[in-house]
């Protein structure tokens, strides 16, 4: 065996050895089994806060509903108040009490939740739906920080610990790159290029480190397992009370901390769902722009032709659509009977059937997978129907196109659609020449669209309607953030934002992060 072969074999053996060690480490540090205690309504002496109970109740894997449970706990302790004015729990509101305004000595995650409420209910109160962040990234950052704070408290209480000791993590991480180093040396000695050596040198280590990273986290201490067993007993008790699952947030007035612990343990499903500290409903956002909280519905015009396009692009689209319409028209008129290429039952006939079935399939797939149809899906689907029309014969969906005099119905439809599109794009391009309108409002949500160069959606609340349609913010625009008050120059035809001026910067409410500098663009 040559030295190069020995290096390859050695690297492979080291990978196997690493995986064995890793597997042993996983087995040795796996979470113990929680033995549920008897069903009880007791919290026990010095009970852990609901946030920590959420970690224990989720087997140290996450802190689902911890923020909602903490908010309910704050309400049970009188720092905030949850009110439900009517029959609909979703219309509940959260209010800051005097005790809440002057609260001190809270745990960091409790303070974080309270800060969020203070930011949103600063003027007295806010709908519970307004607690959501309206921004995926910020929601993720905020919840990530909350989780870290809860884990830190759980560690301080002796309930949680790192799954792997830092020394073991360092050893595993370092050793994961040794096989790659051997491969790299072997590649270089074998006379291959440096790029291959670099790839083989890094790839194994990258994969093994990724594996390691996926398993890093928390695990229980013996005390943690014992307490988790106790809280499992409370969960059993609460679960046995069927009505408890459907209690609304305002029921905290009656049930106090039970509702908080029930939410932390995943029992009170309604409350856990309504008190969302996530990025919220993208189509229904609470806004206080104009002085009164109200829900604003947002439409995202994904299928609207010409949305966010420049005049030049509109003219290009008009030309393309016109050419397609004219081409189809000419083809249908000039077509001769001897253009038939395949007779009944021929391969092209079958291909037409397959393509037609394909377009139905792709349309359905688009609906099921993406929940929507893109205009390109529709266009491709429409065009893929065409081959079926050039097949001689009239069974099934197809007719003897070549024997027809003039365009078929489907061709008429195509000609009209593309002709109308061409006219539509031309009108839009003409309207773009007008002076843009000026509108002012609060940015409710911003969403990216497919493709790096595509304009983003920007939903603006102008304060005078409960339904708004998103605008197209050019991809190059910088500095506009959710929650900012802006003055926009817009073209209504294409719903494109021509320029934006910052009136009031967004504040990152409740997450103690300074707002980024805003530049008018």
């Amino acid at each position: 065996m040559t030295l190069i072969e020995q290096l390859y074999w050695g690297g492979g053996a080291l990978i196997v050895l690493w995986l064995v060690c890793f597997g042993l480490a996983l087995a040795a540090t796996r979470n113990g089994v929680v033995t549920p205690g008897p069903a009880t309504q007791e919290f026990g002496d010095d009970p852990e806060p609901p946030g920590v109970v959420s970690l224990l109740g989720n087997h140290w894997r996450g802190v689902e509903h911890a923020a909602a449970a903490t908010l309910l706990d704050l309400a049970a302790r009188g720092l905030v108040e949850l009110r439900q004015p009517g029959d609909d729990p979703a219309r509940s509101s959260v209010h800051l009490t005097e005790a809440g305004r002057t609260a001190s000595g809270l745990m960091p995650y409790e303070q974080r939740v309270l800060d969020r409420v203070i930011a949103r209910a600063a003027d007295g109160g806010a709908p519970i739906g307004a607690i959501a962040f309206r921004d995926d990234e910020r929601a993720a950052t905020w919840n990530g920080a909350l989780r870290k704070e809860i884990v830190a408290d759980a560690r301080l209480r002796g309930l949680s610990r790192y799954r792997f000791a830092p020394l073991l993590v360092s050893a595993l991480m370092t050793s994961s790159f040794v096989p790659g180093a051997l491969f790299a040396v072997a590649v270089v000695m074998g006379g291959h290029n440096l790029r291959a050596a670099l790839f083989l040198g890094v790839a194994p280590g990258g994969v093994l480190t990724f594996l390691l990273g996926k398993t890093l986290g928390e695990r229980a201490t013996p005390k943690g397992l014992e307490r988790a067993g106790h809280w499992a007993g409370l969960r059993a008790w609460l679960t046995a009370h069927e009505d408890f699952a459907q209690l609304p947030p305002a029921a905290v007035t009656v049930w106090d901390r039970y509702l908080a612990y029930g939410t932390a343990l995943g029992v009170t499903t309604l409350t856990g769902r309504l008190l969302g500290f996530d990025s919220g409903d993208r189509r229904r956002v609470w806004s206080s722009y104009g002085g009164t909280w109200r829900p604003v519905r947002i439409r995202y015009p994904r299928l609207r032709p010409g949305f966010g396009n420049s005049t030049r692009r509109l003219l290009q689209l008009a030309a393309a659509a016109g050419i397609v319409a004219a081409g189809l028209c000419a083809f249908a008129v000039l077509r001769q009977p001897d253009w038939v290429v395949v007779t009944d039952g021929g391969s092209l006939h079958r291909a037409g059937l397959v393509l037609s079935a394909g377009w139905v399939g792709s349309a359905l797939l688009g609906l099921v997978v993406a929940g929507k149809l893109s205009r390109w899906t529709l266009l491709v689907a429409f065009l893929s129907m065409m081959p079926g029309n050039f097949v001689s014969g009239s069974d099934g969906w197809f007719v003897d196109a070549a024997a027809q005099d003039g365009p078929l119905l489907v061709e008429w439809v195509a000609i009209v659609v593309f002709g109308a599109l061409a006219a539509y794009f031309l009108v839009l391009a003409f309207l773009e020449r007008r002076e843009p309108d000026m509108i002012t409002g609060e940015v409710l949500r911003m969403e990216s669209r497919k493709g790096k160069k595509a304009a983003r959606f920007l939903a603006l609340d102008e304060g005078n309607t409960d339904l708004t349609t998103a605008w197209a913010l050019p991809a190059a625009s910088q500095g506009i953030a959710t929650g900012a008050h802006v003055r926009l120059r817009v073209s209504r035809g294409t719903r494109t934002i021509r320029s934006a001026e910052l009136v009031k910067a967004a504040t990152w409410e409740g997450d103690r992060v300074e707002a980024p500098k805003q530049d008018a663009s």
């Binding site: 008790w237 408890f244 106090d256």
Partner: protein
């Protein structure tokens, strides 16, 4: 044809039996939950009853001439622990005991030495804690009874409960007077 009809009938029978069994088991589960909830109340009430003599003895040392209050508390406690009271009667007795205990706590305000007594304070705190737990246990019990009654009175529980298994109504844990007295509304 006959086989198909037989299979359909057989399937229907299985579905009906499954449905009856499921409903019956749910009723049993809800009934047991009312009993478990009642047991929680019972535990907390007994705890309170055990603490009261200590409180009375502590107070007697500082306010011996408040005999009327001590006797009222003792009598109310005796009424609460005596015999086999029904749920409603017991709730009334406990409410009466709570009212007399309030007077006993008030003595602490009138007698500074009593208020300063460590034992009195400790028992008082424990009693208040017990009362809090009783209040929650009461909520859980009444919630369990409500769920049970809803299941009993709605379809298919009302049909299945007739099959046996002692599925009777339970009493709510609340004093009869509290719900039966007319609400006094006064227009200024």
């Amino acid at each position: 044809m006959g086989v198909i009809v037989g299979a359909v009938v057989g399937l229907l029978v299985v579905v009906v039996v499954w449905w009856v069994v499921r409903t019956y088991n749910r009723l049993v589960r809800l009934r047991n939950q009312t009993q478990a909830s009642w047991a929680q109340i019972d535990v907390q009430l007994k705890r309170r009853h055990e603490l009261i003599p200590n409180l009375v003895e502590s107070a007697r040392g500082y306010a011996a001439h408040e005999r009327g209050t001590f006797e009222a508390v003792t009598a109310a406690r005796g009424a609460a622990v005596s015999g086999e009271l029904g749920v409603t009667d017991r709730a009334a007795a406990e409410d009466a005991l709570t009212a007399t205990l309030g007077k006993l706590f008030a003595l602490g305000e009138s007698y500074p030495d009593l208020k300063a007594d460590q034992h009195f304070s400790t028992v008082q705190v424990e009693l208040r804690s017990a009362e809090d737990k009783i209040a929650y246990a009461r909520q859980f019990y009444n919630s369990a009874v409500q769920s049970y009654h809803t299941a009993l009175e709605s379809f298919p529980g009302n049909v299945v409960s007739g099959l046996g298994g002692a599925h009777g109504r339970r009493e709510y844990f609340e004093a009869a007077g509290v719900v039966q007295d007319p609400v006094q509304v006064r227009f200024a």
